[in-house]
Amino acid sequence: MLVFMAFALALIPALAIAYPFLTRAGRPLLSDEDTTASEVSARWEAAIAGLRTTELEWAVGNLAEEDREWLRERYMTDAALALREMEVGDAEERALMATVEREMKRVRAQAGDGE
């Protein structure tokens, strides 16, 4: 019984260990997501999050108008630069920035639907 149980217990990790080798189908070299794309994506997301927070802070009265304008300009520049690096077409870029503007307007009006 002990031998059988030991065998059964050993079988589980043995199968787990062997599985990737048994099912190998020319997997690509181990690497994380494309660096440039994910870096740019992170910058875009940080810019959008920054814009949204700015609008929320302004809507709840934490931010003076002067600071809000300064921050908005910075974040919009960051977002535009990120899009430029993504090599998005002009039309798509305009559409995206328009969507961002709409989103920010909504955040302003409703004290931030999602920070």
């Binding site: 260990i17 959008i48 809507a59």
Partner: protein
């Protein structure tokens, strides 16, 4: 059953070692199959370690005293309910528990990480499995909980009486889980760094998620420990700056700094090196905690899980610290920040200051904790550092941290003008000043306490005023007040979850300030029928009832308590003596209200009927325990997955578009 557990332990040790090796080799050589094999091996470990755990629990339930650990930590008189507590009551069992928790959390974390970041995951897997291998080597070589005795005793030695308490079902496992879980955010950060991704920010979301979960578990563990000390250790306090308490506090401090600092990396691409330093510090301090808890050279009142294996933990801690620093040195060039500080008046600047203060408190605590070792080495005399040192040095630092906790969220990212700072802080500061004035008028005149309470008032006002302004803002778009408030919170969960946590911390601080500065204590000798008085309370001692049990002699005192002429009720504190352990366990009787706790604990019963009681009135302690559930809710609320807003989800579209082009 025990033998199956033994076999499973051996297999688990081999599999963990394989998983570590395959993960590191696969990562280094970029061999996907090998690293995946290592990760899959890690997935099998929870099952392999569940087998010995079940074996051990089964041995306890069946009172199989042929197993040394069962014989040392239970007896026939032990209630079955305490089987779970007995499992981790000693060193060997608690190590098995730690290994199981590490295996389970590793499997979950690796699964979540592997989809986006396979290269990082391979290194993370290697680190986690290396830690698990270390535990397995100790379990098999030095502290095997399933080891058989040559001769089976008729009865066991029994469980440590101090552990026979409801809190023991939760506090030790939660505390141990928190300490071992620090490995997870550490492995993610180090994995990203080793894969050359530390200077990128994709790991930050997973690092923050696991950082927050770990922080929550550590916090709950600390609070439960304080509650256990307050209710069972019978000295009327909850925190004694004991080395074992400090060893749990230090990684908590570093993790608190980390979960704030990593937000700056996510939002600004800054503090990349700093975050790695913080998580290395947290991991090292967590190991320091295990070292102190398991045979470290520092004297402690905690007898739980003492062993002579401290040197093993010290060696592993030294090895991982040196390896981490070497990896940091190797990859330092990739960790440059994307941006710099725009202004000293900004949220990230406050976070940085706060980080430094958290580390300062941790270092002060570390110095006070290890001071006896240095004093012994220097002058052959062990000098311990007591609560006055910690309170005097850490007190102002912690108060400054609470101030920053109030100021930070009110400042914007990047830059705030002076006008903005004045506008954001005018109401909170006014509330702080008003609170100070009211307290002085009420005669609560101790400057430090008044300052501390004022700071708390300032933080609460800052939070609540923002909630009010946010709700009003939503109301202007036509939403009724309750809906506006609910939506404000629900749609900004991370932000408002953080505020809820800050409110809970203020509650905790209020309890700590009240009980530290205004606690009243007196030792009294009473005979049956005598009445004592303290701070508006009077209490009549009716007598003591002595009962003999198989494992202990229990003496339960009965007192009737009055306040302001009205009877509050009967209180029954007790003292139990366990002859087999030569341990006396006292249990205070506590009448707790939000205003204050009336706490009475017996220390001695004489044969002639006299009894010695320690009586305390501890103001505001109730708020400390009430803060725990609120803190838990705040963290869960903040971490709860949220639908990503439209603009952010456009990223995927934009990237897809770019790929097509």
């Amino acid at each position: 059953m025990v033998e199956i557990g033994q076999v499973s332990l051996v297999i688990a040790a081999l599999v963990a070692a394989y998983a570590a090796l395959a993960s590191f080799l696969g990562a280094g050589l970029r061999m996907t199959d090998l690293s995946t094999s290592g990760r899959y091996a890690a997935y099998s470990l929870p099952l392999l370690l569940a087998a010995p755990t079940v074996s051990l629990v089964n041995a306890f339930v069946g009172r199989d005293f042929s197993v040394r650990y069962v014989a040392e930590n239970s007896n026939l008189a032990m209630p079955n309910a305490y089987t779970w507590v007995a499992m981790y009551a000693g060193n060997a069992g608690s190590l098995l528990f730690l290994a199981l928790v590490l295996a389970v959390t590793s499997a979950i974390a690796l699964r979540g990480l592997s989809r986006r970041m396979p290269h990082t995951t391979a290194y993370a897997s290697g680190i986690l499995m290396l830690a698990l291998t270390f535990f397995m080597v100790i379990i098999l070589g030095f502290a095997n909980p399933l080891e058989r005795l040559p001769i089976t005793p008729a009865d066991g030695q029994g469980i440590n009486p101090l552990l026979v308490h409801f809190g023991m079902f939760i506090h030790p496992p939660v505390q141990m889980t928190g300490l071992v879980m620090v490995s997870v955010p550490f492995s993610i950060a180090m994995g990203a760094m080793m894969a050359g991704r530390g200077g990128r920010d994709e790991w930050v979301d997973q690092g923050r998620l696991w950082g927050m979960i770990t922080w929550l578990v550590l916090t709950v563990g600390l609070m439960l420990g304080a509650w256990w000390a307050y209710t069972i250790l019978g000295w009327g306090g909850y925190w004694a700056w004991d080395p074992v308490e400090n060893s749990a506090l230090m990684p908590w401090l570093a993790m608190t700094a980390f979960v704030h600092s990593i937000m700056v990396q996510k939002r600004r691409g800054m503090f990349r090196m700093w975050n790695i330093v913080l998580i290395i510090t947290a991991f090292t301090l967590a190991q320091m905690g295990m070292f102190i808890n398991r045979g470290g050279p520092v004297p402690s009142v905690h007898s739980f899980a003492q062993s002579s294996m401290g040197w093993l933990f010290l060696s592993f801690m030294t090895f991982t610290l040196l390896a981490s620093l070497a990896a940091f040195w190797w990859r330092a060039g990739t960790l440059k920040s994307r941006e710099g500080l725009d202004s000293i008046l900004s949220r990230e600047s406050v976070f940085l200051t706060q980080n430094v203060l958290f580390l300062a408190v941790a270092l002060v605590t570390l110095w006070g904790t290890v001071f006896p070792i240095f004093s012994e080495a220097a002058q052959d005399e062990t000098v311990t550092v007591g609560a006055p040192f910690f309170n005097r040095v850490n007190g102002p630092l912690i108060l400054t941290l609470v101030v920053l906790m109030g100021v930070g969220p009110l400042l914007p990212w990047r830059r705030a003008s002076r006008a903005n700072v004045v506008n954001a802080l005018k109401y909170p500061v006014a509330a702080g000043v008003a609170a100070a004035a009211v307290l002085m008028l009420l005669g609560i005149g101790r400057p430090v306490a008044v300052t501390a309470f004022s700071v708390c008032a300032m933080v609460v006002t800052g939070i609540l005023s923002e909630w009010v302004r946010g709700t009003m803002s939503r109301r202007r778009s036509g939403e009724p007040t309750p809906l506006a408030f609910g939506r404000l919170l629900l749609r900004n969960r991370p932000r408002y979850g953080g505020y809820v946590v800050h409110l809970a911390i203020v509650m905790l601080a209020v309890g700590a300030i009240g009980s530290s500065f205004y606690s009243v204590q007196r030792d009294m000798v009473l005979r049956p029928g005598d009445t004592g008085n303290l701070d508006g309370y009077s209490f009549r001692y009716l007598g003591v009832e002595k009962t003999f049990f198989a494992d202990r002699v229990e003496e339960v005192a009965e007192l009737v308590v009055y306040s302001g002429g009205s009877r509050l009720g009967t209180m029954r504190p007790f003292r139990a003596f366990y002859p087999d352990f030569r341990i006396a366990s006292t249990r205070g009787a506590i009448r707790s209200t939000p205003a204050e706790d009336f706490y009475i604990v017996p220390s001695e019963f004489d044969e002639d009927g006299r009894a010695v009681f320690r009586v305390l009135v501890n103001p505001l302690v109730w708020w400390m325990w009430a803060s725990g559930p609120l803190l838990f809710v705040g963290v869960v609320f903040g971490l709860w997955p949220q639908r990503r807003p439209a603009a952010e989800t456009l990223t995927a579209r934009a990237l897809a578009q770019a790929a097509r082009a």
